[in-house]
């Protein structure tokens, strides 16, 4: 197994910065914005984007994290498994949500997240930001904000490393 770095620390920071700027551009000032990170790495990326927005605009944008590993579309009461508390669930209604994940692949994870969010709270809109789009979609899902497009083979893996877990920031392809 070999690891090849495709995005170094500096490029990763710049990608997050650009996504942040684009979020501002398309949300006209960040009103009623909520960032929802998909656990675990998406949550850290969401926090990074939130702190960038705070540096720039001086406002704290709410960040939530959802865990869809236990989310199954064949189980009732599924929202209980998302890891959101009641207050967070109540906050979603009528908000503009940016859903954030590290890698966009088949689209199944995103679909599950979309289902869950719509089921819980009736948001005004949902858009999608991903650090890496690696292709091979199986569902009609498209990211609104992409850090980097990295075409991959099916048997390759994309590994996103974040400071909080891995000690440093980078994106690697694993063969």
């Amino acid at each position: 197994m070999t690891n090849k770095e495709v995005l170094d620390n500096a490029s990763l920071q710049r990608a997050l910065t650009r996504i942040t700027y684009e979020i501002i551009e398309r949300n006209k000032g960040g009103q009623d914005l909520i960032l929802v990170g998909i656990k675990t790495r998406g949550e850290f990326l969401a926090q990074r984007i939130a702190s960038r927005l705070e540096q720039l605009e001086g406002v704290k944008i709410p960040v939530m994290a959802i865990d869809i590993t236990n989310f199954r579309d064949d189980v009732l009461n599924q929202e209980d498994n998302l890891g959101l508390n009641e207050e967070e669930k109540n906050n979603i209604a009528d908000k503009n949500i940016v859903l954030i994940d590290d890698v966009l692949f088949t689209g199944r994870t995103i679909r599950a997240a979309l289902d869950a969010l719509i089921h819980i709270g009736r948001p005004n809109s949902i858009s999608l930001a991903v650090l890496v789009d690696r292709g091979h979609r199986e569902l009609p899902i498209r990211a609104d904000f992409v850090g980097k497009n990295i075409p991959t083979a099916q048997n390759e893996k994309i590994k996103v490393l974040v400071q909080e877990i891995d000690g440093h920031d980078a994106v690697e392809i694993v063969h």
Partner: protein, 361 residues
């Protein structure tokens, strides 16, 4: 070498020895604290018509290099240094700094107490100056009476469109005075470049179907340009990704209702920390400015500040709230200067890619 003098509008006289051309010239005098890159600085069109004092003590010791021209013909009005070195690295001719200035009819003065001169200019701000043979009352009267041109853009910008072809994205450069560093950076991205006069119409630009637009560095004062330029920017920024640099940044600000203000003291150098506000990262870049965008004049519905100079607080970058259009006051082409600033071009090309992709979908 002949004894000559630098005279200032306020009557101050600095004796020195002449080098370069024996000409008598007039210009606005400014000081530069960069320790490297004298060739790039004296050939940079942003210094058109100006007289430059170098703080670095020895100038000329690395020769004149083919790859360090920022314009083929330098148009500064004078160069003032403390010590002059006579080194040549040219394989064809013995081309040192002294001969280079002679060839371009630019006077130089050395063995000047440049530290005293800079400490003086730091207090007075830029003023008119002249390099003369005799520093008598007559010379000073003549200097005071001289009216310096403010048409630097008009004299340095290209009157005709031209191309610098490549195989990558199509970038249109609106030329207000264009240093080679920007073309060099665009070359690094293999961009297909069209350089257009600033008098070009919106329709002409859009007909070329650009993937991105760059507003170049200038020299001079943006307020001397016709309003049509601001209209051009206002229309183009809403259609194509845009990057303004130097004067281009100031024009981008003016086009979006911001105003300019004079800096408490001019800054020409590469040692000020510039902070990217969104990440708080600090970096250094070549800067050359007497004016800055007045932060209090910025309409927050249109623009927000992206970079700031941590020393004087001056706005160093802006971004449009609705369009993929942004600008920097500093010079990100690193010619001369720190390479870390070149990420601005990486940001621009990523924005361009994003734009192209969105159109394709």
């Amino acid at each position: 070498m002949m004894q000559r003098h630098l005279i200032l509008e306020d009557g101050t006289i600095f004796p020195g020895l002449g080098f370069g051309a024996p000409a008598t010239t007039f210009g606005e005098i400014i000081f530069h604290t960069a320790m490297t890159g004298y060739q790039e600085i004296i050939t940079d069109p942003i210094y058109d018509g100006q007289m430059i004092v170098f703080a670095t003590p020895v100038v000329g010791a690395s020769g004149i290099h083919a790859e360090a021209y920022e314009s083929v013909k330098p148009t500064i009005s004078g160069m003032i240094v403390h010590d002059l070195a006579e080194v040549s690295v040219n394989r064809q001719r013995r081309m040192n700094l002294d001969r280079f200035l002679k060839q371009h009819n630019i006077p130089g003065l050395y063995q000047v107490d440049t530290r005293q001169l800079i400490r003086h200019l730091r207090e007075t701000g830029p003023q008119k100056a002249s390099i003369v043979d005799f520093a008598d009352e007559h010379a000073i009267d003549q200097l005071v009476a001289t009216v310096l041109t403010n048409k630097q853009v008009q004299s340095t910008a290209t009157p005709k469109p031209y191309a610098n072809p490549g195989r990558g994205r199509h970038i249109v450069v609106i030329d207000f005075g264009l240093k080679h560093g920007i073309l060099r950076m665009l070359g690094d991205y293999d961009a297909n470049v069209s350089v257009l006069p600033y008098t070009t119409s919106v329709a002409e630009v859009l007909t070329l179907d650009p993937d991105g637009i760059i507003l170049s560095t200038g020299p001079g004062d943006p307020r001397t340009l016709p309003d049509s330029v601001l209209t051009l920017i206002r229309v183009l920024q809403s259609k194509v990704p845009m990057l303004g640099i130097g004067l281009g940044h100031e024009l981008f600000a003016l086009a979006n209702d911001a105003e300019l203000m004079p800096l408490p003291s001019e800054h020409h150098g590469m040692n000020h920390p510039i902070q990217e506000i969104i990440t708080r990262q600090i970096f250094y870049a070549m800067q050359g400015q007497g004016y800055a965008v007045d932060a209090s004049s910025i309409n927050r519905k249109k623009l927000f500040v992206t970079y700031r100079d941590l020393v004087d607080g001056a706005v160093q970058g802006l971004r449009h709230r609705e369009f993929p259009a942004f600008s920097v006051q500093f010079f990100p082409d690193a010619a001369p200067g720190p390479l870390e600033a070149t990420t601005v071009f990486a940001d621009f090309f990523e924005t361009v890619e994003d734009y192209v992709e969105h159109y394709n979908q």
